[in-house]
């Protein structure tokens, strides 16, 4: 108690210490003489410190009894200077060699960047906060070589984001393992402001320490450490407006009526609209736009600019023995689609306690409340409102002048589907608590224990309203739901993790040895309970017990459990900072497999050679400051299978006898008792270099990743009568390379930076254990992929085409889709020449997975002004145009302007086939609807300004930064033609919540 009192006193004293004298000065870079911004100027032995301003100047108050200043800056040698009686101290700091001291987080530890022998990439907080993003996924996109993040769009709080490290290794789950301060979590859970660094472990040698869950790579997120010394307060916030990116352009009304007439003529032999109707239409529309509306204006009605804002307040500081950092965030994001929104309020507190030189404790607590609002969507994940904006969407007036809803010819209104159908809201509370103890047994030997628990409590509130709407001008068009109902669901997840580690690190002359022995276990349980009632008194009384109390009441629930137990170790050896070696072992057991198949063994090893530290390099050292060769090999596992799949089980499956329910049981899934680990083996060689006083950095990696015994729901003959479960089958290979190139330099007040990184990856299925090929869908679906030996996973599979039929003679002499095919229709290639179009004529004609993913960062600064541009692109990728966009008015869907160039006997060189009605003959899955999916996108542009230190000083604040930023401003892609976002997948605009472009203004203030 006494001790704590003294500690607090020290803290207070250090803050309010009486100012004795001032020291000012300018800090410059030794090599160039340029001023250095952001150098930490700290009084030795105290918590007092300041940061140098944009012009390199600083001014610091020296407490009584202090006489030494420490100048430190990342990438430079730290310098201690005695003050004596000076009041002006100018200093030139020398760059440290190749960020020599930079330490990066690796699995279960940290390592000097220069000593790393594995393929890892990392970034720190400075680079992360460059971009306005409500979540980490967006903040990280394109920042880390080898990590491909694709933003498929998605409603606020429900973003559909895919992360892939070095391609697709498995046929099932390819999401990497994300650990936040060592605890499994999800990227979407964390406040970007709280993140200190992110490390991506790419090769097997770096991930093997995570054994079973590491096959798709590992991402380590470290939150900011508690501050030392003086209390620091900072505010980070932004306000932004999101807009939809791709606003599809519909054909003009007259063009559309003519096109539809052609379609009816070509299919049924009559015209739908009379010539008079079409001729009168422009005037009619001008006079009476409600009776003569445009064909499709839903996009404008459904989407609108949406505000978002985020505020984080951080308090950080401490004494010699207790350091703490507390951050609180409030974030609110509206959807560009009506009724969508997301809100997060969270608190994170991280505290370190140093009991003595040997023993320390730390705690890390995160409490987060999030609430996601969305309209009730009867289709589950697919938004019906989106779909109806594109499909069955013609000739409706979204809102009449008098405020009533208009409906389409097919009686739909996306507006009603958003505004009137009820809601489906999710509220979740996440609690994470980490408690850790570190004990230094003897010099170099440390023992640490960590216990963490994560709980998630969720509440899903789904209320479907009853409603009736009729179009006032077209009474035959009506839409309604005459039964309101509610589903109230609650869940609780609990994940407990225990880690015990013994680490050793010591140097004997030129030999440095380090090692790790560890044990880890995870136990996860989940329960849920759900209630249902219908026929509520009205749409406002939304409590389960107010629904009708009859046989329609329903309640159900479930629970599940899994566990992992692991033993692992690591040894590192470093000779004179030149020769580096590392080995890892992990022995993992999973409850997902049957006894006997339960444990897997995952080894790895890597070596490195720092050529630049060799004596013979000394003459080159001034040019090539750092050069390292690396090589690694390792195996990791994946346990991505359903729970209990090895147990043959009976599920409840009921029937009716005597008109009342009879309980039944039957087996539905085939059990696979022999199921075991999927194993990924990876070889990696790499080179890292820093040149010309570290102005240029360069890194290159080559890798080959082979996944064996893939866990796969292999299609089995349906004659078995049971659904397939996962089996170990086949293998997949990913080969590729990564290039990182960076340059930074200053010229006077000017600073420039250029960064480029690229990943080339080729995916190939090597073997399917005789089970393939796997074809995703047959029939009239508009998406079909095949997984076949010798080709990339999920290659496009269908017909190839040979233009359009031009004459009846041509039609008659070739295989046809059906008897209605005529000139102007698509000519599908009859591959085997049997005169018929059958699945035997399907071929692989493309793939979506890109060959190249690349990123270009550009920055230019002048004094306090900095302009950053971030470009992202992919190459060697194809997309299939699907849904209404592909169907060009065959059904009552959105008909893009591009389709005015359709085939007629007069326009035989048309880009698109002749219009037809209610037939998919021209919209089969084929290369005709495949578009180059490559794109280059200005992902982010940001202009920021650091208020000069002198101004800050007058304002009595430590630093003030203001920025303007915009995302997704500019995209070069062939897909622009169809107004489809290149990052979208699947049916494109009609199935997904759209991507947005966010323009924002932000503030970062340090008090």
């Amino acid at each position: 108690m006494k001790k704590i009192l003294i500690l607090s006193l020290t803290l207070i004293l250090s803050i309010s210490a009486f100012a004795q004298r001032n020291v000012t000065g300018t800090i410059t870079e030794a090599a160039s003489g340029d001023p250095l911004v952001g150098v930490t100027v700290q009084i030795k032995g105290t918590a007092t410190g300041v940061i140098s301003g944009y012009d390199g100047t600083y001014s610091v108050t020296i407490p009584q009894g202090s006489d030494t200043i420490i100048y430190s800056y990342i990438g430079f040698e730290t310098s201690e200077v005695a003050i004596s009686n000076r009041t002006v101290i100018d200093l030139a700091l020398a760059a440290s060699v190749a960020d020599l001291e930079e330490v990066i987080v690796i699995g279960y530890g940290v390592q000097k960047k220069v000593s790393v022998t594995n393929a890892v990439s990392n970034i720190t907080s400075d680079e992360l906060t460059e971009r306005t993003s409500t979540n980490m996924n967006q903040a990280l996109q394109g920042k880390l070589p080898g990590l491909t993040i694709i933003d498929y769009g998605g409603a606020p709080g429900d973003e559909n984001i895919s992360m892939r490290i070095r391609g697709v290794t498995s046929l099932n789950n390819n999401q990497p393992l994300v650990l936040i301060d060592g605890v499994p979590g999800s990227m979407s859970q964390i406040n970007p402001v709280d993140v200190e660094s992110v490390t991506v472990l790419k090769d097997a040698a770096s991930t093997a320490i995570y054994g079973t869950r590491a096959a798709a790579g590992v991402i380590l997120v470290t939150t900011k450490a508690p501050g030392k010394g003086k209390l620091a307060v900072s505010y980070n916030g932004y306000f932004g407006v999101a807009r939809t990116n791709n606003n599809p352009v519909h054909m003009g009304a007259v063009d559309y009526m003519n096109q539809q007439n052609q379609a009816y003529q070509n299919t049924y032999g009559f015209q739908y609209y009379t010539d008079q109707e079409i001729a009168d239409w422009p005037q009619n529309h001008a006079n009476d736009p409600e009776n003569y509306p445009l064909p499709n204006t839903w996009h404008d009605a459904v989407f609108s600019p949406a505000p978002q804002h985020s505020h984080t307040l951080t308090l950080s500081g401490g004494t010699e023995n207790v350091n703490t950092r507390i951050s609180a965030r409030y974030m609110n994001e509206d959807g560009v689609m009506r009724q969508y929104g997301n809100e997060i309020a969270e608190l994170r507190a991280k505290t370190d306690f140093k009991v003595n030189d040997r023993l320390s404790f730390s705690t890390n607590v995160n409490v987060r409340n999030s609430k996601r609002t969305a309209p009730y969507n009867s289709w589950g994940t697919w938004s019906q409102a989106n779909y109806r904006t594109m499909q069955n969407s013609q000739w409706g007036v979204p809102l009449y002048e008098d405020g009533t809803y208009g409906l389409t010819v097919d009686s739909y209104s996306p507006l009603i589907l958003l505004d009137e159908v009820g809601h489906d809201n999710h509220s979740t509370t996440n609690l994470t608590g980490i408690f850790r103890a570190d004990y230094k047994i003897i010099k170099g030997l440390n023992l640490s224990a960590q216990y963490s628990t994560q709980r998630a409590f969720g509440y899903r509130d789904l209320f479907a309203k009853n409603y009736y709407f009729q179009d006032k001008l077209h009474p035959a068009r009506a839409t309604f739901n005459n039964l309101n109902w509610m589903q109230d669901s609650r869940f609780e997840n609990k994940e407990d993790l225990i880690d015990l580690q013994l680490t050793y690190n010591n140097t004997f002359g030129q030999h440095t040895l380090s090692g790790l022995l560890a044990y880890s276990q995870i136990h996860f349980t989940s329960t849920n309970v759900n209630g249902y009632r219908q026929d509520f008194y009205n749409n406002e009384l939304q409590t389960l017990s107010l629904g009708i109390d009859d046989a329609t009441r329903n309640g159900w629930g479930g629970n599940s459990e899994w566990a992992l137990r692991s033993y692992f170790g690591r040894a590192n050896y470093d000779f004179a900072g030149k020769y580096l070696a590392e080995a890892n072992l992990r022995y993992d057991g999973s409850s997902r497999f049957s006894e006997g198949n339960r444990y897997g063994f995952f080894p790895s090893a890597s070596v490195g050679w720092r050529i630049s530290n060799e004596d013979f390099w000394s003459s080159l050292k001034s040019t090539v400051n750092e050069l390292k060769l690396r090589a690694s090999w390792g195996q990791v596992g994946s346990q991505q299978v359903g729970l209990y799949t090895y147990i043959e089980t009976y599920n409840q499956s009921n029937y009716l006898f005597n008109n009342s329910l009879a309980t039944g049981y039957r087996q539905t899934d085939m059990a696979s008792q022999d199921l075991s680990w999927e194993t990924t083996e990876q070889i990696n060689v790499g080179i890292d270099a820093y040149l010309f006083d570290n102005r240029i950095n360069f890194s290159f990696d080559l890798y080959k990743k082979t996944t064996d015994d893939i866990l796969l729901a292999v299609p089995i003959p349906t004659i078995i009568g049971l659904d397939p479960t996962d089996q170990n089958a086949g293998s997949v290979e990913n080969r590729g390379m990564e290039i990182v190139l960076g340059w930074r330099q200053s010229f006077g007040d000017w600073k420039f930076g250029l960064g480029f990184n690229a990943n080339y990856n080729q995916n190939e299925v090597l073997d399917l254990a005789g089970t393939g090929p796997f074809i995703s869908a047959y029939g009239n679906s508009d998406w079909r992929t095949i997984t076949q030996v010798g080709h990339p996973i999920n290659s496009f599979y269908g017909y190839t085409t040979d233009g359009l039929f031009q004459t009846q003679g041509e039609v008659d002499s070739y295989a046809n889709w059906d008897g209605s095919v005529g000139p102007g229709d698509v000519k599908y290639v009859d591959q085997n020449g049997d005169g018929q179009l059958t699945p035997d004529d399907f071929v692989i004609f493309g793939k979506e997975m890109p060959d190249w993913t690349y990123v270009i960062n550009m920055s230019a600064g002048w004094k306090g002004l900095t302009l950053d541009l971030f470009w992202q692109g992919v190459g060697g990728s194809e997309k299939l145009v699907t849904g209404a966009t592909e169907e060009h008015g065959i059904w009552g869907g959105f008909t893009n302007e591009v389709y005015t160039d359709y085939w007629t006997p007069e326009n035989t060189g048309a880009a698109y086939p002749r219009p037809t009605k209610y037939t998919m003959k021209n919209a089969q899955i084929s290369d005709r609807w495949m578009v180059n999916g490559s794109y280059l996108r200005l992902k982010n542009i940001r202009l920021s300004y650091d208020i000069p230190q002198s101004v800050c000083n007058r304002m009595k604040i430590a630093g003030f930064n203001v920025y303007l930023s915009a995302t997704n401003l500019l995209t070069f892609a062939e897909l622009n033609k169809y107004d489809i976002d290149p990052e979208l997948v699947g049916r494109g605009p009609e199935s997904s919540y759209p991507q947005t472009s966010v323009t924002s203004i932000g503030l970062n203030i340090n008090f």
Partner: protein
């Protein structure tokens, strides 16, 4: 040092704790039942028998079968079902694969029951025999449809390993008919005439399925014999045809075997499936076509409408027709469930205008009425009416047809046909001819109209080999007095929708492509 000891102690303890806990990785599911724990009691056997019935199909599969024939039409042309209807499908059609999977699902659950039920200790012998007989009956039901759809099919009678499933070959269709006949004969012996729990199969169902199978197989004397046995079991025809497909008819003695449904418990969307677009937009899937509507005779004369002496008036086409037309189909002038009158004429301005560009509007001008009950109007997704798999009228028609094919024409044959035509709310003139050819046509027409929308037509077309006569061509609908040009008759026609039929291949579906890919021992049907 003390803290150190405590810390080490805690660590040792926790390691000890976790290591002793051998069950840590043995997670036992609590939300499902491991098979090792099952088959212990009679109750388990009953549970499993109920599980078999739960595999019986829904209305989608049920009535789509008539849309693959000539009597109805699948509206949504983007669906795979449309390809089946047009006969432009290939072995990769989803429908071809789904039906295969569905029927083999029934084979799996019944075979698994037969394999395991004897593991139940001290089970009542009679119960054991009865439940096994139910399993065999359901399995035979699946094989009858498999044989009719695909011809030769693998004859599976036990649970299979993946390896077995990848090497099994097809059994000739005659072997399937032999198997079905033997199994159903055996099952009938162990089944009661009535079950305490309605919904379970009975002796009559087993014999009735045998009669159906033997008729399909062209083994007419066996068909006649089995039908004759059913006719001794005490079934009778329901007096009202309309009521059979409404809630009031559910307990009728005529209904032998039906998919059981009940509102709020296990319901169908059958109302939605056939609904007029003016009641519910974007829902109607299947509509009647001209061949069916034209098949209903004139009531007064008993003659077909294309017979000059029939009294048919094309300007008043629905008057004096076989009343089953109005029990089965909504025509213009009929009152819909909402009290409005159906008007599908062009320019009617209703939601049923055949020229509307809305997707789910009837294109023939008609909607189905069978199974569409006004009491389901408010909640069309919550229909509880049972869907009939077998009723006594079919047995009588089987008896008649088999007798006619055997040329054993006597009064019992005429009684069978006239019983059906003579229901109180049908009341068609009695058939008196005994000429084989005439009777053959009569019984075929009776099957078409009496059993419309009950899933028989496709197989009848196949076994009568009339596909090339009835299937090819466009979809045709009502013939109406053109409102724009009174006095002129116009026929609704989907001119762009051309159905095909190749007699060399289309009497069977192909073996699903996926099954072919996974099993080298399977052969494909001709033409695919």
């Amino acid at each position: 040092m003390k803290t150190f000891k405590i810390l080490i102690g805690i660590c040792m303890l926790s390691v000890l704790m976790v290591s002793c806990d051998d069950d840590f990785l043995n997670t036992v599911p609590k939300d499902r039942l491991a098979s090792e724990l099952f088959w212990q009691t009679e109750q388990d056997a009953l549970y499993a028998s109920t599980g078999m019935y739960s595999r019986l199909g829904d209305q989608w599969r049920y009535s789509a079968f008539d849309a693959y024939s000539d009597i109805s039409h699948f509206i949504l042309q983007w669906r795979a079902e449309s390809g089946i209807e047009k006969h432009t499908f290939t072995s990769s059609s989803n429908v071809v694969a789904d039906e295969w999977e569905y029927y083999y699902g029934i084979v799996q659950v019944t075979s698994s029951f037969l394999e395991n039920v004897d593991n139940v200790p001290d089970m009542d012998v009679n119960l054991n025999a009865r439940l096994k007989a139910e399993a065999k009956t359901l399995r035979a039901f699946a094989y009858i449809n498999l044989a009719m759809l695909y011809g030769d099919v693998p004859l599976v009678q036990t649970s299979m390993t993946i390896e077995e499933a990848r090497t099994i070959s097809r059994t000739a269709v005659s072997g399937i008919w032999d198997f079905v006949s033997t199994e159903l004969t055996a099952a009938a012996a162990d089944l009661p005439v009535t079950q305490e729990e309605s919904g379970r199969v009975t002796e009559g169902v087993a014999l009735g399925l045998k009669a159906r199978a033997m008729l399909y197989a062209g083994r007419y004397s066996e068909a006649k014999e089995a039908a004759g046995l059913v006719m001794q079991l005490g079934y009778s025809l329901h007096s009202s045809y309309a009521e059979l497909f409404d809630y009031a008819g559910e307990g009728s003695s005529e209904i032998m075997f039906a998919r059981q449904y009940a509102r709020d418990i296990e319901s169908t969307e059958i109302f939605w499936y056939y609904t007029a677009n003016s009641l519910y937009t974007q829902e109607c899937q299947v509509i009647p076509t001209k061949p069916l509507v034209d098949a209903y005779l004139m009531q007064s004369t008993g003659l077909p409408i294309d017979d000059g002496a029939s009294g048919f008036d094309p300007f008043d086409p629905y008057t004096d027709r076989d009343p089953r037309l109005s029990h089965t189909i909504y025509v213009n002038g009929d009152v819909l469930a909402n009290g409005e009158t159906l008007n599908s004429l062009p320019g009617s301005g209703t939601g049923d205008d055949i020229t509307s560009s809305a997707e789910n509007v009837t294109q023939t001008g008609w909607y189905f009425k069978k199974y569409v009950n006004n009491s389901d109007y408010a909640t069309p997704w919550n229909c509880g009416v049972n869907l009939i798999y077998m009723r006594y009228a079919e047995i009588l028609l089987t008896y008649a047809e088999a007798s006619i094919e055997l040329n054993e024409i006597d009064q019992t044959v005429l009684d069978a046909i006239n019983g059906i035509r003579g229901r109180a709310d049908v009341n068609m003139p009695a058939v008196t001819t005994t000429a084989q050819g005439e009777l053959r046509e009569i019984v075929r027409r009776e099957r078409m109209v009496e059993l419309a929308l009950e899933g028989h037509r496709l197989f009848d077309i196949r076994r009568w080999q009339i596909g090339d006569q009835v299937i090819p061509g466009t979809i045709k609908g009502m013939t109406y007095d053109d409102p724009a040009n009174p006095g002129t008759l116009v026929m609704a026609e989907l001119t762009g929708y051309v159905k095909e039929f190749d007699p060399a291949k289309h009497y069977l579906w192909p073996i699903p492509n996926n099954e072919m890919e996974l099993n080298d021992n399977l052969t494909q049907n001709p033409g695919y």
